[in-house]
């Protein structure tokens, strides 16, 4: 019996084999290969040469990398709170079942299914100087038009607006799902407890969905650190690299200048930054909820 038990234990492992194979080939292997590449001077056309941490040194002193890093951090610091707050606001506003709210939920979510090319095309129509929507509006209002896509500061802002518009569907849906899990009798108890709408929001609703707020924040931190398509297509990182994100830097170094080792080093640094940011968010939230326990 012990023998058959041991054998059945071993064969149980076969059930996870398909997943494990895909995981190893598509995730684990590239991760380690990336680390290996980052330690070599390599250009995709021939065998690489081991250079230790030299690639990391080159990346960290590269002013273009530092500028892209700053751009990306600013972008994440602004876009993630906006996505969380706006997603929560929309979810609260649409958390009832009428035909209108169902329609609006679909409408707000619909932008998420568009590809980045369509999204940037739409927002180019809005921001482009001369014939863009904002240019026409400022002309009608006799205001000096801003050249959103090619003015330092405004270009990253424009990318941010398009990104929030594109990404708002998921946070909204996650928040809606969480809101619908809150038992209605908590709200009834709050009504009998004379709680104002603001007190209900801050003392009942938000604490009840704290875990979802953390989840949305972590997902968005991870996603927004990987900003690329919108910046590439709307501003091409310009002007003067003021809207160039880290992934675009990696792309340019790796695929335009063929310095694959350096690009891999930058990728590993981005990976570490995302890991630390997401973990920091998690640890802070966990500590907060522990402190309140």
């Amino acid at each position: 019996m012990a023998e058959s038990y041991r054998r059945s234990q071993w064969s149980n492992g076969l059930f996870v084999l398909p997943y494990l194979a895909v995981f190893v080939v598509l995730l684990a292997f590239p991760l380690f290969w990336g680390v290996w590449l980052s330690l070599h001077k390599v250009d995709l056309f021939g065998p690489g040469r081991f250079v230790g941490l030299a690639n990391y040194g080159r990346v960290l002193v590269d002013p273009v990398f530092l500028q892209a890093l700053r751009n990306t951090i600013v972008f994440v610091l602004v876009s993630v709170p906006v996505l969380v707050a706006l997603g929560l606001f929309l979810a609260l506003a649409l958390n009832r079942t009428t035909r209108m709210t169902s329609f609006l939920r679909g409408l707000f979510f619909s932008s998420s299914v568009l590809s980045v090319t369509i999204v940037t095309l739409i927002w180019r129509f809005v921001f482009i100087p001369g014939d863009g929507l904002l240019a026409v509006l400022s002309e009608a209002l006799s205001v000096q038009p801003v050249n959103f896509l090619s003015t330092s500061g405004w270009s990253l802002f424009s990318v941010g607006v398009a990104t929030v518009w594109w990404c708002i569907g998921l946070p909204m849906m996650l928040f809606l799902a969480a809101l619908q899990q809150i038992p209605n009798d908590l709200y009834e108890a709050a009504a009998l407890d004379n709680a104002s709408p603001w007190r209900v929001l801050t003392r009942v609703t938000v604490p009840s969905i704290a875990r979802t707020i953390m989840l949305v924040a972590v997902i968005q931190i991870v996603m927004q650190f990987q900003l690329f398509g919108q910046a590439q297509l709307m501003t091409n990182g310009g002007p003067n690299g003021t809207s160039r994100p880290l992934v675009m830097y990696i792309y340019e170094v790796g695929f335009l200048r063929w310095d694959v080792g350096k690009a891999a080093a930058a990728s590993e640094l981005l990976f570490l930054i995302i890991l630390v940011a997401a973990m920091a968010q998690y640890v802070v939230s966990a500590r907060k909820s522990e402190a309140s326990e």
């Binding site: 038992p183 009798d185 908590l186 009834e188 108890a189 709050a190 009504a191 009998l192 407890d193 004379n194 709680a195 104002s196 007190r199 003392r203 009942v204 604490p207 009840s208 704290a210 309140s292 326990e293």
Partner: protein, 365 residues
């Protein structure tokens, strides 16, 4: 502190569906009223309308001298204990209890005084720092009551608060609620479908059935002089025995009723002159039927199932014509299933119901 509650001609409709129809009820200050009824009779809806969680379609509700049915829940001066307790899961016990008081801007010292006092009363002072997830069902139940007490409300509303507790705890909490009522002297309205809770807790019971109040009375009135066949069948365990009336003759004093199975039964009941026999039924409770000692002549009953409950024995059987009858016999009864026993009725405890269900009782019943 406690206040009377006046419910006048209250109707509740959801679209075409009428849930409560023209309900009127006066509750005295300090009274413990239990609203009893089967599932779906609208008893919780009535309680929620008093609390302000449901709108009143028609009619009015007053607490004390003040009409409240147009006020928001928090301003009605009532506190409610929910079936699910509805404690705020992310707040500690102390925060749960003080939340309502903070909302009305009570000074911190006063809030703390009330919370500590209520916690001492309910013996939950050692739990004040814990969150609901770390409490047992019984402890949560006390916190929910504590949250109501600190508000010093004019009336307490309980929505089946014992139904989530196990049997032993339910019995103990029932006793504690009765003691709490004596100590606080507050008006309490308690909704339940459990007749034991109703009988043991209530000053008066309100029986709701089919959108209307079927009967209002003390537990003994409800049990001994049920106003309708529904009440007679709903209250009491085992349920009352009913027999169709075939004919009846009256000699002015005594009514002789002919039923299938029981044969001819004499009862001291004076039904109204317009009483119609068609559809009428006779009712008698199991404890008003006695098993005669062997050898004495009576009505023969074939015992099918015998339940021995220790202090009493329930005999479920059928009469010669197949009519079912339940008898409550002594705990020491030796009847076994399959036995043929002789029974007798206490004719003073017979109830007569007309086709519409209205009851007529004997003088002794």
């Amino acid at each position: 502190m406690s206040a009377s509650i006046e419910i006048t001609d209250v109707t509740k409709r959801y679209g075409e569906l009428t849930v409560l129809d023209d309900i009127s009820l006066s509750i005295r200050a300090g009274e413990f009223v239990v609203i009893l009824g089967p599932s779906g009779c609208g008893k919780s809806t009535l309680l929620r309308m008093i609390a302000g969680l449901e709108d009143v379609t028609k009619g009015s509700i007053s607490v004390g001298e003040r009409r409240v049915d147009t006020l928001p829940p928090g301003q009605r001066g009532v506190a409610m204990v929910f079936q699910s307790y509805a404690l705020y899961p992310h707040m500690t016990v102390a925060q749960n209890m003080s939340f309502g008081l903070e909302n009305i801007g009570l000074p911190k010292a006063e809030i703390q005084r009330r919370v500590l006092q209520a916690a001492a009363t309910l013996e939950i002072a050692h739990l004040l720092g814990r969150k609901p997830a770390k409490l047992s069902g019984g402890q949560r139940q006390r916190v929910a009551i504590g949250r109501a007490i600190v508000k010093e409300p004019k009336a307490f509303l309980f929505d089946e608060p014992l139904s989530n507790l196990d049997a032993a705890l339910r019995g103990r909490t029932r006793l504690e609620l009765a003691q709490l009522h004596t100590r606080l002297g507050s008006t309490m309205i308690f909704v339940t479908h459990d007749q034991v809770e109703a009988m043991t807790l209530a000053d008066r019971i309100v029986i709701l059935h089919n959108r209307r109040i079927e009967q209002i009375g003390t537990p003994m009135e409800i049990y001994q002089r049920p106003a309708s066949r529904f009440v007679a069948g709903f209250v009491g365990s085992p349920a009352m025995n009913f027999f169709p009336v075939e004919s009846a003759t009256s000699n002015g004093e005594m009514l002789t009723i002919q039923t299938g199975g029981l044969g001819s039964v004499g009862a001291v009941i004076r039904p109204p002159s317009r009483f119609s026999l068609s559809g009428a039924s006779l009712g008698i409770r199991a404890e008003d039927v006695t098993v005669l000692p062997a050898g004495q002549p009576g009505i023969p009953l074939k015992a099918e199932v015998v339940e021995r409950l220790g202090d009493r024995t329930l005999i479920y059987g059928h009469l010669t014509d197949g009519t079912k009858l339940t008898v409550e016999a002594d705990g020491r009864s030796e009847a076994r299933s399959g036995d043929m026993v002789q029974i007798a009725l206490d004719t003073s405890a017979i109830h007569l119901f007309d086709a519409a269900g209205a009851a007529h009782h004997g003088e002794g019943g």
